[in-house]
């Protein structure tokens, strides 16, 4: 099994469409593109098996339920966890809010939740809302200048009152991959649970969640070559069973009387209402497609391109990389600032050169405040990117610098 980036790229129709060959898509940390097998799975479901799941006995309903269950199994294999521990949600934000409600509402005044200073707003705001609802305290694990969690501050941040540590597995701004082991150890030492926001880690290869030692893990479909509107919350079975449901409605109950209801088994207890069925099937297809790749080769390719970005930026006058300077412990996400040039102006000019970037605060305003900038420009790579994409980025940047600086 070998990895050929151009053969991979050929599987993505968006690069074959009008202007596709000149599209240098480097905004993968926001949303990645979908390969043909994912699109085919969605279309096949919608055209041959579309029905509601888990209820009907007619043949379409049976086929839909089977496809939905199969998708859950595929996602579970991607994360190396049992299928009944995989809860389908609307995305990482949905997963984190589920935990903030179902687990968070079991907390009381005096309890503490720890997040870090580089979290995406989706792993900060739900905890702020929980704090205001339940009177818990929110403590912040500081971040280093390289955009990594400062593990030297673990002891003073995670106290005996801590009930949950919720941090990014990989940063959507700095690209730093969190060294999970010391955080897990610090949380375990005080009996706290650990949640990892894996949205930025999930697109970069199968995840061995049990090896990480976390209690909760969240990720999104659309960042790992699947559809939007679908995501995953994983938690160990006993935790899912102990948590009260988040949303009430159909498909999450066992019996209902006018007075009360009892809950369906996990994971269905947390999947009230008709789920995003086609999206789940698409995510399952994405997981299956990803699992067939030669990951050491894919990772080597992603890191080679990341090095090319870092090397290129080192030659741009006034450029400051916000994040790790090397390849150790990082995903292929590179943020930077350019003296005298605003990220949105840079992105607008790069768009004219066919390069799709993201500029702004990346839903991480506290980290922007921490490093003293309003925003950064971010190039985020995926397995279908090429040297030509990086070279287009560098060419566009030199043009933008000439215009703006």
């Amino acid at each position: 099994m070998t990895f050929d980036p151009s053969a991979i790229r050929a599987q993505f129709p968006i690069f074959a469409g009008a202007n596709g060959s000149s599209l240098h898509y480097l905004d993968n940390a926001a949303t990645s593109q979908m390969p043909r097998p994912v699109l085919d799975a969605v279309i096949a479901f919608e055209t041959t098996s579309r029905a509601n799941v888990l209820r009907g006995v007619h043949r379409l309903a049976e086929a839909a339920t089977e496809a939905y269950d199969q998708a859950r199994g595929r996602v579970a294999r991607y994360a190396n966890v049992p299928a009944e521990e995989v809860v389908f949600t609307s995305g990482t934000t949905g997963s984190l809010n589920l935990v903030a409600r179902a687990f968070g509402d079991t907390l009381a005044a005096g309890d503490e939740v720890v997040v870090s200073g580089i979290e995406h707003h989706s792993n900060l705001v739900p905890w702020q809302m929980l704090r205001d609802r339940r009177g818990i305290a929110l403590r912040i694990l500081p971040v280093t200048d390289e955009g990594r969690l400062d593990v030297s501050a673990l002891d003073r941040t995670i106290t005996r009152r801590c009930k949950l540590v919720a941090v990014a597995h990989a940063s959507n701004v700095s690209g730093a991959v969190t060294d999970v082991a010391p955080i897990v150890a610090a949380a375990r030492a005080v009996g706290a649970k650990i949640l990892l926001d894996g949205a930025q880690r999930a697109p970069h290869g199968p995840i061995d969640i049990p090896a990480l030692g976390a209690d909760f893990y969240a990720f999104s479909g659309h960042k790992m070559f699947g559809p939007t509107g679908i995501g995953v919350l994983w938690a160990r079975r006993e935790i899912l069973e102990a948590m009260p449901p988040f949303l009430g409605g159909g498909e999450m109950i066992r019996t209902v009387t006018l007075e009360k209801a009892t809950w369906a088994d996990v994971p269905h207890k947390f999947e009230a209402g008709t789920p995003p069925i086609a999206q789940a099937i698409g995510l399952g297809a994405a997981a299956e497609w990803l699992m067939r790749l030669d990951w050491p080769s894919v990772t080597a390719h992603e890191m080679r391109l990341t090095q090319r970005v870092l090397d290129g930026l080192a030659h741009v006058s006034g450029c400051r990389v916000i994040g790790p300077s090397g390849l150790q412990g990082r995903v292929p996400v590179v943020s930077f600032t350019l003296a005298g040039a605003h990220p949105h102006d840079i992105c607008q000019i790069l768009d004219a050169h066919g390069v799709a970037l993201r500029g702004g605060h990346h839903c991480a305003q506290p980290f922007m405040d921490r490093i003293g900038v309003a925003g950064t420009t971010r190039a985020s790579l995926a397995l279908y990117n090429s040297e030509a994409d990086v070279d287009a980025l560098m060419h566009g940047l030199s043009r933008a610098a000439a215009q703006l600086q």
Partner: protein, 141 residues
């Protein structure tokens, strides 16, 4: 092509940064954020007989936002609250495809290339929003 967006007139105006800074004792101030990008504009102003006597702006934002603040700060001198709100409405209308405003706001015409970039309209409007907000909440004297 996006290169058209960054015409000399806009970039020069952004770099000129007319009336950039803060006023030591303003009659009114306001800070407005653009939630999309985190850009922030702070406007200080003094009033004389219901008209803007002086304006300063502090912009943490893109070239479009800086250029807009720069044009606004020059053109707002001597204008009433109603004049400035009318100019803001005319600017918004121009970005939506309408005509460029007349004197003393004709220089806002440099932003006509922004019309086709809807995600950037707020960048141009943000300084006007900050000035409008400041005018709505003058300090009691």
């Amino acid at each position: 092509m996006s290169d058209e967006l960054y015409q000399r007139a806009i970039l020069d105006r952004a770099k000129a940064a007319a009336r950039a800074g803060r006023l030591p004792s303003p009659d009114a101030s306001a800070t407005v954020d653009n939630p999309l990008c985190g850009d922030r504009v702070t406007i200080d102003l003094t009033l004389d007989g219901g008209r803007v006597a002086d304006v300063r702006h502090h912009v943490r934002g893109c070239a479009l936002c800086q250029a807009s603040a720069s044009v606004l700060a020059d053109a707002a001198i001597g204008q009433t609250t109603a004049d400035i709100k009318a100019a803001r409405d005319q600017l918004k209308s121009m970005l939506g495809g309408g005509d460029a405003p007349g004197s003393p706001w004709q220089e806002l015409g440099i932003f006509t290339p922004v019309r086709r970039y809807k995600s950037r309209h707020e960048c141009v409007l943000l300084p006007f929003d900050a000035l409008s907000q400041a005018l709505d909440s003058p300090k009691s004297s």
